[in-house]
């Protein structure tokens, strides 16, 4: 008996070892190293100096940079909310379709999901080009001045973020809606609820897991956006991701880049922790 | 040596802190259908898995045909299992499923083909041999699982709740088929079930298990008619319990007992329990007579007056619950004559309950909690 379970343990460790060690070496250790590196001092040329410091974090919270942090947060939250607002009706509609049409629409949603996102961003650059129809219409309607630009501002960054991550929000919501028993809505209606009330009190709570997944799928990559503000944003629409890349490639100041990375990690862990707390609270209320 | 074909000897098994099997010993004879019957969690499946080699006992030995097989790995034992949800290989056809064991054992192709053919015929599935498990009905999958196990010519076939996933009608049909297969192959069957009617109808012998121990081993009739413990009496069918002390010896076999809150009852005391001994009486509902008029009074017959509390008409019989002296007795009346001609017994009727003392049975062991197993409406 004893020999059997210890033999089992050895087999378990043997087949877990390759993946576990790979992830430890190439994920866990580098991540911890980044946090440690953020505490190392450096001179303005990016050379590493001996000792430890919190100077890098002081720089982050200086007035010039703090606005970037705020922008990253509000742009991400706003984009996530808009994505959810669009994906709920889409997920609802898809779940109610006949199987044949559902497959077609699903296919049409999955294709952009898989298309290289550089290309998808670039397509918007083309559309919003000053030479393009949309730009000309906007100028004609007086929405923007003739010398103005549709790209290189925060609005465009949000638009392209939504464009990029909307499929990521639709898919989990659709998956949840597909499992939803639509007879519940009929039951609610039968019990006197209006359509809107039934939707809000029956449908939404039942797909809450899908909503959470969708929110996480959009919010997390949004916070780490780098390419989108880089390609369609202007100097006033930089996000934390751009600062990381700047420090790594332009300023060549690794401790500063590491400090920004650590901040980004904290920004992601914070809402995740919040969601976890809310979940624990909700579970407690259920008892 | 027929009796000692498969022996479980002092088997114990713990899962964590829970004692699942507690020092169980019993023999299984060659060629019989032996059932392990008990509620879920009683340890019956674990015992079967120990026999299959899928679990190891903490203590004890399993001896098959004179050989100690306790330490043999599953693939080295001459036993095969029919799993609860059949565990058919979903990526293989019916034929490949059945041929899996022989192929693994390295039989030659000719022998495999002829054996597979034989078993497909036996279970009447020849026309489905190229189908996949998901294309089959529950009953068909069941038969494949049986054939897949039997083709290896096991000394013992282990069946783990094989009918649990089927509906009632199909279950009854499969029971008959299982019985037919057993008659044709003659392999020893070790059958695990929680369903008493399954066990009663198919078994030569039943071991009733509860909380890791065997409460009673016997033929289906022995277990039903002469349960030794309150658990067996309550788990197999319904019964009425009385608790009292022996108060008077009428003759060497007949005694009177005095329950604390019920008039004296005449019982058949073949265990020769002396006056003052605490006894527990179990009497099956169908052994009780119910009538609107007072039956012939023989001195030895127990007769009590009561009020009908509940009636369930079941076609071939009617179940009554009658209150008498604060006791709720359950009574089954079989309808052997045309019911509509009889004067019906109605709710709240005053009735006479009577029974022959020889129809009750004194238990060896009693636990109050076993009364929860009875179907008494409240």
């Amino acid at each position: 008996m004893k020999s059997d379970s210890s033999k089992n343990k050895i087999t378990e460790i043997l087949i877990s070892a390759p993946t576990l060690s790979w992830l430890t070496v190439f994920f866990l250790i580098p991540t911890i190293m980044a946090i440690i590196m953020a505490l190392r001092p450096s001179n303005p040329y990016g050379d590493l100096l001996p000792g430890w410091t919190l100077e890098n974090f002081k720089t982050i919270f200086s007035p010039i940079y703090i606005s970037v942090v705020w922008r990253t947060i509000w742009v991400s939250i706003l984009s996530t909310i808009i994505c959810l607002l669009f994906s709920v009706p889409v997920g609802y509609y898809m779940a109610r379709l006949s199987e044949k049409f559902r497959k077609i629409i699903l296919f049409l949603v999955i294709v952009p999901f898989w298309t290289n996102f550089l290309i998808r961003i670039f397509a918007w650059k083309l559309i919003l080009n000053p030479d393009g129809l949309i730009h000309k219409t906007f100028v004609f309607l007086g929405i923007i001045p003739s010398g103005g630009s549709l790209i290189y501002n925060t609005g465009t960054v949000i638009l392209v973020i939504i464009y990029t991550y909307l499929p990521f929000a639709i898919l989990p919501i659709f998956a949840a809606a597909e499992r939803f028993d639509f007879k519940l809505l009929e039951a609610a209606r039968d019990l006197g609820a209006t359509r809107w009330l039934a939707f809000l009190h029956i449908f939404i709570p039942n797909i809450s897991k899908g909503l959470m997944a969708a929110a996480a799928m959009v919010l997390i990559p949004c916070l780490g956006s780098y390419v989108i503000p880089d390609l369609v944003g202007g100097t006033n629409s930089q996000m934390v991701g751009n600062l990381i890349a700047n420090q790594a490639f332009v300023a060549r100041n690794i401790p500063m880049a590491a400090a920004w990375s650590t901040l980004l990690m904290a920004m992601i862990l914070l809402p995740l922790g919040l969601i976890l707390c809310v979940k624990i609270l909700l579970d407690k209320n259920k008892d | 040596m027929m009796n000692d074909f498969l022996i479980f000897e002092n088997i114990s098994k713990k899962f964590g802190k829970q004692q699942v099997i507690n020092n169980v010993t019993f023999p299984v004879s060659k060629g019989e259908v032996f059932s392990l019957l008990g509620p879920s969690g009683c340890g019956k499946t674990t015992l079967l898995r120990i026999c299959a080699g899928l679990e190891e006992p903490d203590n004890g030995r399993v001896i098959l045909d004179g050989k100690d097989i306790t330490d043999f790995s599953p693939n080295k034992r001459q036993v095969n299992t029919v799993f609860q949800n059949y565990a058919l290989f979903p990526h293989m056809t019916v034929r490949d499923n059945i041929a899996f064991g022989p192929r693994t054992a390295g039989w030659n192709n000719k022998k495999i083909a002829s054996e597979v053919h034989f078993f497909l015929e036996l279970i009447q599935m020849s026309e489905h041999k190229n189908k996949y498990p998901h294309q089959l009905s529950g009953g068909q999958r069941q038969r494949i699982a049986i054939a897949r196990a039997l083709i290896n010519r096991p000394l013992v076939l282990l069946l783990d709740e094989p009918l649990a996933a089927l509906d009632l009608k199909l279950r009854q049909r499969m029971l008959i088929e299982l019985d037919t297969i057993h008659d044709q192959i003659g392999t020893t069957f070790l059958f695990v079930t929680h369903d008493q009617s399954e066990a009663m109808s198919i078994s030569d012998k039943i071991a009733v298990m509860n909380k890791g121990v065997i409460e009673q081993i016997g033929t289906p009739a022995q277990i039903y008619e002469a349960p030794t413990t309150s658990f067996v009496a309550a788990f197999i069918g319904d019964t009425n319990f009385f608790e009292g002390t022996v108060s008077e010896m009428i003759n060497s076999e007949i005694s009177r007992i005095a329950p604390s809150d019920f008039p004296e009852i005449t019982v058949y005391n073949d265990k020769h329990l002396s006056i003052g001994t605490k006894v527990y009486l179990s009497i099956r509902p169908e052994k009780l007579n119910i009538a609107k008029t007072q039956p012939n009074t023989d001195k030895l017959i127990n007769i009590f007056k009561g009020t009908v509390e509940d009636i369930i008409y079941l076609g071939s019989m009617t179940k009554f619950w009658v209150t008498t002296q604060n006791y709720k007795l359950s009574i089954i009346k079989q309808h052997s004559s045309f019911l509509l001609d009889e004067e019906p017994i109605r709710w709240k009727d005053e009735v006479w309950i009577s029974w022959n003392p020889e129809h009750g049975y004194l238990l060896d062991q009693y636990a109050e909690t076993d009364e929860n197993l009875l179907t008494i409406p409240t």
């Binding site: 877990s16 993946t19 298309t115 909307l166 | 036993v79």
Partner: protein, 258 residues
């Protein structure tokens, strides 16, 4: 049927229009004889000819394929192993294993790129194809694991016992039962890994070195500094390839369900 709301229908079609409008504009523009901008100046195939005449594209595509195939193979093995032990052994070690994979999935590309860059620099590993390979396997493992794990949800482990009971040894069980049953999941995971690897820009951008430019990195540099016209042509190709790939994977998973 009564409850099908028209509002959700309109939103869905609007969203699909929003998804495909840029693609259509880009496709049309790839035939536009205008060097900059999107005003129609006549039909041309010039940009496609340019694309095929650009040796750098073939070179970077080869790099992408080398990384994609090797990362796919290695992550298929590692991911399947991980999925199997996470599902089969429910121990504390596997809980850690599972959480490590989940966290890895949640980390934004830029963080992974940054920390890997830091790591490779500090162990003095020269940035190049090898470092890209390491990085790609790392993020692919999690995806393969998730796909295989999903497949394992429907995996009835009692058939392993049945096989053992019928006399099969572990090597036979792995070859005849586990691999055939899990192969659709493993292949799907591998396809996912390959696509993710071929598509990746951000992480690659951080750990790439001289001579190891992949196609997305090259496309990015063309977008920023080179000629956008060729980017249009490449994009159309990639878009079509994606379309076909998704179509076939959908078909594949569809038949497997039945």
């Amino acid at each position: 049927m009564k409850y099908k709301s028209r509002f959700s229908k309109y939103v869905t079609w609007l969203v699909l229009f929003f998804f495909y409008l840029p693609m259509v504009v880009m496709t049309i523009n790839s035939f536009n004889n205008s060097k900059y901008g999107i005003t129609w100046k006549g039909f041309t195939l010039q940009w496609y000819i340019d694309m095929f005449n650009n040796p750098k594209i073939l070179f970077t595509l080869m790099n992408s394929l080398i990384i994609g195939v090797t990362a796919m193979l290695v992550s298929m093995i590692l991911g399947s192993l991980a999925a199997f032990c996470i599902h089969y052994y429910r121990t504390r070690l596997q809980l850690f294993h599972n959480n490590l994979i989940l966290i890895q999935l949640g980390v934004p590309d830029i963080l992974m790129g940054m920390s890997l860059l830091l790591f490779f620099i500090s162990i003095h590993l020269k940035l190049g194809l090898l470092t890209i390979f390491f990085a790609h396997v790392t993020f692919c493992i999690s995806y393969v694991t998730m796909v295989v794990l999903a497949r394992l949800q429907n995996f009835d482990f009692s058939i392993l016992e049945a096989a053992k009971d019928l006399g099969a040894s572990w090597p036979v069980i792995i070859r005849k039962i586990i691999l055939p049953l899990l192969s659709p999941g493993i292949i799907a995971g591998g396809l996912l890994a390959f696509t993710l690897s071929i598509d990746d820009f951000v992480i690659t951008f951080f750990v790439t070195g001289p001579g190891s430019t992949t196609l997305p990195v090259y496309i990015y540099s063309m977008m920023k500094h080179g000629n956008p016209t060729v980017v249009n042509a490449i994009s159309v190709f990639i878009f079509i390839a994606t379309f076909i790939l998704v179509f076939f994977t959908q078909k594949l998973t569809d038949t497997k369900k039945k």
